[in-house]
């Protein structure tokens, strides 16, 4: 038996840290792409607000009606005489604000509910599971329409009302995710160690469980914001939105209401649709990127 044994082949040089980061981003391009889009949108809203007086120009009678894009009105104007550039600037910020408010409520409530259900289990968990099961059978839009049309006066809707209605369901996804995570984390050794070493439940939750869940929570928060913007858009499309505020959704609502497409006022439809698409795309990419970062199962793909 002859065994040939070559001297070991020299190893190639270790790639630098930057190369590694770049390689990772190439495999997971969602996160940087989404962040760039988000920075662009926020920049558009913030810088736009500084340059344009949106508090008047984004509201009716600020300009001649239905002007196509021109030097004076780069994005045109709508039927009620809003300057659509100002509307887009203010709308992006308002829509973002609704999403952030509802998303924050959603993540706080959802995390609490999920932790309580997953950590304590028993009847608490049973009640919460029953509640989510019940809410799951009501189509979200229908529930929100009923809330918006029976509890709130249609003519007095503000962006805070929108955020409120949107947050009614914003907690559910987070709660489900947190509950599942807590259930699996609870069984891991380090939690038992903490319990044996005499940590209280609250201490275990905040010292041991929370840090492990942060990446998931980040992804879940983005998801909740996205859901809230989607929910408020649905209500706005059906005419249950804040009639006096130029959110992106309301702008689309008015454009459809006044048959902008049929009247060939394409700019009135195109810009807000584009803005919403950018908002959703950026959040979805960030959400996915975070998920990929947090979840090694997804990371394994390539």
């Amino acid at each position: 038996m002859a065994i040939a044994l070559d001297p070991q082949a020299p190893l190639i040089a270790q790639p630098s840290r930057w190369t590694l980061v770049l390689r990772y981003l190439r495999r997971n391009p969602s996160l940087p792409l989404g962040l760039v889009l988000l920075i662009f949108l926020v920049g558009f809203g913030v810088i736009g607000s500084l340059l344009i007086d949106t508090s008047t120009r984004a509201y009716p009678l600020a300009a001649p009606p239905v002007q196509p894009p021109s030097a004076e009105y780069p994005l045109g104007t709508d039927r009620d005489g809003r300057d659509l550039l100002a509307v887009m600037v203010r709308g992006v910020l308002l829509t973002g604000a609704v999403g952030l408010m509802a998303g924050t409520v959603g993540i706080v409530v959802g995390t609490t509910v999920g932790f309580v259900a997953g950590y304590f289990g028993g009847w608490v968990d049973a009640v919460i599971r029953w509640l989510t099961e019940v809410l799951m059978t009501i189509p979200p839009l229908v529930l929100q329409v009923i809330i918006a049309s029976t509890i709130v006066d249609k003519n007095k809707v503000t962006i805070f009302t929108m955020a409120g209605v949107a947050s009614v369901l914003a907690w559910m996804g987070t709660a489900r995710m947190v509950r599942a995570q807590v259930l699996s984390l609870r069984e891991r050794a380090f939690v038992n160690m903490a319990r044996l070493s005499g940590m209280s439940n609250l201490e275990i939750i905040f010292r041991e469980l929370m840090p492990n869940m942060l990446p998931y929570l980040a992804a879940s928060f983005v998801g909740a914001v996205m859901g809230a913007i989607g929910a408020s858009f649905g209500l706005e499309a059906l005419g249950l939105g804040p009639v006096r505020e130029p959110t992106i959704g309301m702008t689309i609502r008015w454009a459809v209401y006044h048959s902008a497409i049929f009247n060939q006022w394409w700019w009135w439809v195109l810009w807000p649709v584009l803005a919403l698409i950018l908002i959703f795309a950026s959040l979805a990419l960030i959400n996915r990127g975070l998920d990929e970062l947090a979840n090694p199962r997804v990371r394994r793909t390539e």
Binding site: M1, I3, D6, Q8, Y24
Partner: protein, 346 residues
């Protein structure tokens, strides 16, 4: 068992490299060995030493970013010889199970949870012997189940209805379904409890002997190796550092690494999983210069740090990769053995 008879498997200079983000990792680094029909070779080493990669390479199941860089693995069949590493994809697919088969650690998850056991066996027959009738296939599957001492009704059961030991037996039954020349069993009993382990191992050994196939048994358990195998190959950082008949391996280990392994076995009973050695296994990304084992070696010499060790073949058909044993063939060991001879149960 001597290797003078023409071997059923002849592996030469097998190299497998993984191209990872962190750099190039050579997981199997120039491994060569022969295997006679009916022979049982144990393959031991710490996790990450490349023993599973070696098995996957023989099955041609290395997935990107891994790549088989070079080498040959020639199997002798009744139709002549074939180099597994040179076959095209479709021929290799046909060679799996019928020429070389792989028995996974089956107690956990190796069986498809949504298909009945019988269907999973029929799938294998359908893929390799489509000319058989449905009834013939079923008869063959049931015969295989019987040969691993499983009741007939296992055929119609789902994996979750079986115990760990039964699932492992099903995996063995599938592994021998097409009478392969070489069987690779990758820690086939590690998830089972001790009593079941022994029974399953006896079954595996019996069916392998009936087939006259060669068996490569991968594992951590030196005691099990002592009981089951004829020869043992010790793998370290992608290389075979010693290949010896099992008796000699336990009474007079040559390589310092083997010596340390044997020494670390529990004293009262050499059955058991070996403890870890001082130091850590090298990162395959940054292998030490010279002999890869030198940072952990108790008998390290100056030359070990500089030069790769020579491959030494002793007169009694042993192989060792170590500077202690000189450059020319057939030398007697220069070093005194640090291990007291232990009784090897065979």
């Amino acid at each position: 068992m001597t290797l003078q008879e023409s071997p059923v498997l002849r592996v030469r200079d097998l190299r497998v490299t993984y191209y990872t983000d962190a750099g190039r990792v050579t997981a199997v680094n120039g491994v060569s060995f022969d295997l006679a029909a009916g022979e049982r070779l144990g393959l031991v080493g710490e996790s990450g030493c490349g023993k599973s990669t070696l098995a996957l390479a023989l099955m041609r199941m290395i997935k990107p970013p891994g790549r088989i860089e070079s080498g040959s693995a020639v199997v002798r069949t009744e139709h002549g010889e074939m180099d597994l590493l040179a076959l095209d994809e479709e021929s290799m697919r046909k060679a799996r199970l019928s020429v070389i088969s792989y028995i996974p650690q089956g107690a956990m998850n190796a069986l498809n949870p949504v298909l009945r056991v019988g269907q999973q066996m029929l799938d294998a027959l359908q893929a390799h012997a489509p000319h058989l009738s449905r009834a013939e296939m079923r008869a063959r599957a049931e015969a295989a189940l019987a040969s691993v001492e499983l009741p007939k009704d296992v055929f119609d059961r789902y994996p979750h209805e079986l115990s760990g030991g039964m699932k492992q037996r099903v995996c063995i039954a599938i592994g021998i379904l097409l009478s392969p020349r070489v069987i690779i069993a990758d820690e086939p009993t590690s998830a089972l409890d001790v009593v079941v382990q022994r029974q399953v191992m006896e079954t595996l050994q019996r069916v392998q002997e009936q087939l006259g196939a060669a068996l490569i048994l991968i594992g951590h358990d030196m005691g099990l190796m002592a009981q089951v195998t004829h020869r043992v190959a010790v793998m370290y950082a992608g290389q075979f550092v010693e290949v010896s008949p099992v008796q000699a391996m336990f009474t007079q280990p040559l390589h310092p690494y083997t010596q340390a392994l044997i020494q670390s076995l529990p004293r009262l009973d050499n059955r058991g999983v070996f403890r870890s050695l001082p130091g850590v296994a090298p990162s395959l990304l940054r292998l030490p210069s010279g002999c890869v084992f030198h940072p952990r070696c108790a008998q390290v010499m100056e030359v070990c740090r500089r030069e790769p060790p020579p491959a030494v073949h002793t007169a009694d058909a042993r192989f060792v990769l170590c500077h202690l044993y000189g450059d020319d063939e057939n030398v007697a060991p220069r070093a005194t053995l640090t291990t007291s001879p232990q009784e090897v149960r065979r």
